[in-house]
């Protein structure tokens, strides 16, 4: 199982011998200070719970009304994807695609693939293609940008506040909680533990 581990710093490539790190503690590179390893408590159960919550919130966020815009008697109700359709219709295909990927597709792929990995691991089985799927999750991570989108909502609301009334929908609240759930997932996930499972099941 756990032997004296060698670990290379991701930032500067210095090799360290990793001793036991207590849960909640962290190991840092002695040369550049980057984090080497942070063990997490009850990582798989907690991350799985958050992933399930995230999936439910994601579905709500993508189906219910997101924001409504009211001038006098005129009301326009929108969902999360309305803007993407509008951009596409205005001939802004590349932007529509970029927004679709970063706000809709990547978060969905992330949640579903986490579920695919964590459910078998939770009952101590090996998911097929674990290494490939987990590598894809790490690669995709910077391209999911829900929290930036949220800041975009705030700016838009300020911009339009003088012109009209903005009514928040259920999906906006689900979206907001989803951002916190995703952040919590990053905190509870112990990626070294996932890689270790590949070794242990050999």
């Amino acid at each position: 199982m756990k032997t004296a581990h060698l670990i290379a710093c991701h930032e500067c490539d210095l090799i360290h011998q990793l001793g036991a790190v207590p849960p909640g503690g962290s190991a840092r590179c002695v040369r550049c200070g980057a984090a080497l390893y942070r063990p997490k408590r009850d990582s798989i159960n907690r991350t799985l719970a958050l992933t399930l919550a995230g999936l439910i919130l994601y579905i709500i966020a993508n189906t219910f009304p997101f924001l409504a815009f009211k001038i006098g008697s005129q009301i326009r109700e929108t969902t999360l994807t309305t803007g993407i359709f509008q951009l596409y219709q205005q001939g802004m295909g590349p932007i529509a695609t970029l927004v679709l990927l970063t706000v809709v597709v990547v978060p969905a792929v992330h949640l579903v693939s986490m579920l695919y990995i964590l459910v078998p691991l939770q009952s101590n089985r090996m998911p097929r293609y674990l290494a490939r799927v987990f590598r894809m999750i790490i690669l995709l991570k910077p391209w999911g940008m829900l929290e930036v989108f949220l800041l975009g909502i705030l700016v838009s609301v300020v911009k339009l506040a003088k012109m009209a009334t903005i009514v928040p929908g259920i999906s906006l609240f689900a979206f907001l909680i989803l951002i916190f759930v995703q952040a919590a997932m990053t905190v509870t996930l112990d990626s070294h533990l996932i890689w270790q499972h590949i070794d242990d099941h050999r």
């Binding site: 930032e11 500067c12 490539d13 210095l14 002695v30 040369r31 550049c32 200070g33 980057a34 924001l67 815009f69 001038i71 005129q74 326009r76 929108t78 309305t82 803007g83 993407i84 509008q86 951009l87 205005q90 802004m92 590349p94 932007i95 970029l98 927004v99 970063t102 706000v103 290494a131 490939r132 987990f134 590598r135 910077p142 391209w143 940008m145 930036v148 989108f149 800041l151 975009g152 909502i153 700016v155 838009s156 300020v158 911009k159 339009l160 003088k162 012109m163 903005i166 890689w195 590949i198 070794d199």
Partner: protein, 186 residues
Amino acid sequence: MQRAATCPRCGATLHSRKPNSIARTWALVLAAFVFYIPANVLPITHTTSLGAVQSDTIMSGVIYFIHSGSWPVALVIFIASIFVPILKLLILTGLLISVQRRSQWRPVDRTRLYGLTEAIGRWSMLDIYVVTILVALVHLGALANIEAGAGAIFFAAVVVITMLAAENFDPRLIWDGTENSNDGAT
């Protein structure tokens, strides 16, 4: 040297440094500098309000917020859309030059600067999302209508290209320059 060595644990192709890191990062950084110009000069939105059309660039959006008194919002947009992309490009340019000259200058701080460019880049997507939301909400025909402008495409390109540039740069190159002359690393 063997060409396609793979990790015995996860099967990924091994490389001691990201392949062609310097050349790829330079190419992406230069492309981003070029796109940065139309991104800021061309309008990102066209607003129609009761028949009158108004075109806005990123900067005129910032000025609008200053005049309407919401200077915190003006500051957020200025930082995310104008300051961060150019700062990121300048940092990456500086890092590339320092790595190519095998500079010994403050490697810890240079590594931190790299970490900063990786962390802040995504926030430049802000303006693209604002345009997306405005276009979705303000769609009331002749009364009020907002359409995205050509500048938005160039701006989106700048954001994506700078993110790819940061991903292609290998921060370990910073330390390669320091290792040959002193092996004081513990």
